[in-house]
Subunit: 226 residues, 2 copies
């Protein structure tokens, strides 16, 4: 399947690498291809420049946001929450409409220091904002509640015995995403309901961030014991 | 030990019942003792009137908020978040100061329908508001992330293999509360840090509420798999 991934950061690379390895035709989208390829320094998170990463994943293509969105039958929003709406505008409605968009973003606001707060929460969510801004896109919120390595390889922790959530308005779109999550190894997948339930999974980030402070490493996740 | 419990609802009863059964001298606090004892109807949650409950727990005393707070060496805030600050004022600083207050409340706002939103979150929390309003009280936030029956009997679910969190400014106060949690059967207790980490556990309620909608019953909890 043709996959379009918006964002070249940790999350975009994790999803692109995993889907590329499983034989999908993946294009990652960025603001400016030449600029992204010209970077030689590691980013603030210590990730090597994209060109270095791409050498290890030669089948994964890089294009503009619009090219990647146009390429994909299935799309992923792996951009920072602060720029997600702007990036989706750059990708272009015509390239997005009618498609399933897996939204992994979090509305983190770093402007007042660490840990970040949320730029939207409680009575709204970024997932809902995206769905409202692009009503013909099938937004499915998932995978935003854990470390990128775990997203695509849940079995690396406790043989995968932990939980992932999905939120979205359309059952068929969620079913497609659940299928994909299963291909990553996810077994415990909870459908929370419509896209307004994205408030729940986005508002879990403040707890995740404090756990990140209390844990020896970021390889942890929520399991809903019931 | 003398225990004071503010609130006669589901949570107050669960804590009072458990501690009363374990031989502690428990007094539950309410706004108006005569009114509380005169009630003959079940409450909105279907709980029987307090007088009926008390017949099964004859050693648990009922007093005003001030009496219960004065009685307790260790205190519990089991009131609805919307009235917690007011109730603590009624309890009186002189009866609270210097004591550990286990804060189980959640700042739920039901004014815009179901599921409730939070009346404070993101850049503040009810736990912090209480700590600021009563600086000489040792506020420890815990147990607000799950059903009342599970609070005092974690072993009823998966032999207790799930997680509880504590937040508070003073290590000695948290150690005392951890001791108490262990006496309830809690084994996986994560210290998140100071009282500002109450934001994390209070903001998990929107997810809890959606899970409550998706699950067959409220006997579920978060486990931090790591």
């Amino acid at each position: 399947m043709n996959i379009g991934i918006l964002g070249t950061g940790t999350v975009g690379r994790a999803i692109a690498g995993r889907l590329g390895e499983s034989g999908q035709a993946v294009m990652v989208g960025t603001r400016n291809v030449a600029e992204t390829m010209a970077r030689t320094a590691s980013d603030a998170m210590g990730n090597p420049p994209f060109s270095t990463w791409q050498k290890r994943h030669p089948k994964v293509k890089l294009g503009t946001f619009a090219k990647a969105a146009g390429h994909g039958e299935l799309l992923f929003n792996c951009t920072a929450g602060a720029v997600s709406l702007e990036v989706l505008k750059l990708a272009g409605e015509a390239n997005l409409n009618g498609k399933v968009l897996v939204d992994i973003s979090n509305p983190l606001d770093f402007s007042t220091g660490m840990p970040p707060t949320l730029s939207v929460c409680n009575t709204d969510s970024l997932g809902e904002q995206i769905q409202r801004a692009f009503p013909a896109v099938k937004v499915v919120k998932t995978l935003n509640t854990l470390n990128a390595r775990l997203m695509v390889n849940p079995a690396m922790l406790a043989d995968g015995a932990h939980t992932i959530f999905v939120s979205g308005n359309e059952a068929a779109a969620k079913a497609k995403v659940v299928e994909l999550l299963k291909s990553f190894g996810w077994e415990d997948i909870i459908d929370l309901g419509d896209i307004s339930t994205a408030r729940g999974v986005e508002m879990v980030l403040p707890l995740w961030l404090r756990l990140f402070g209390a844990m020896p490493n970021p390889i942890f996740n929520f399991k809903i014991v019931r």
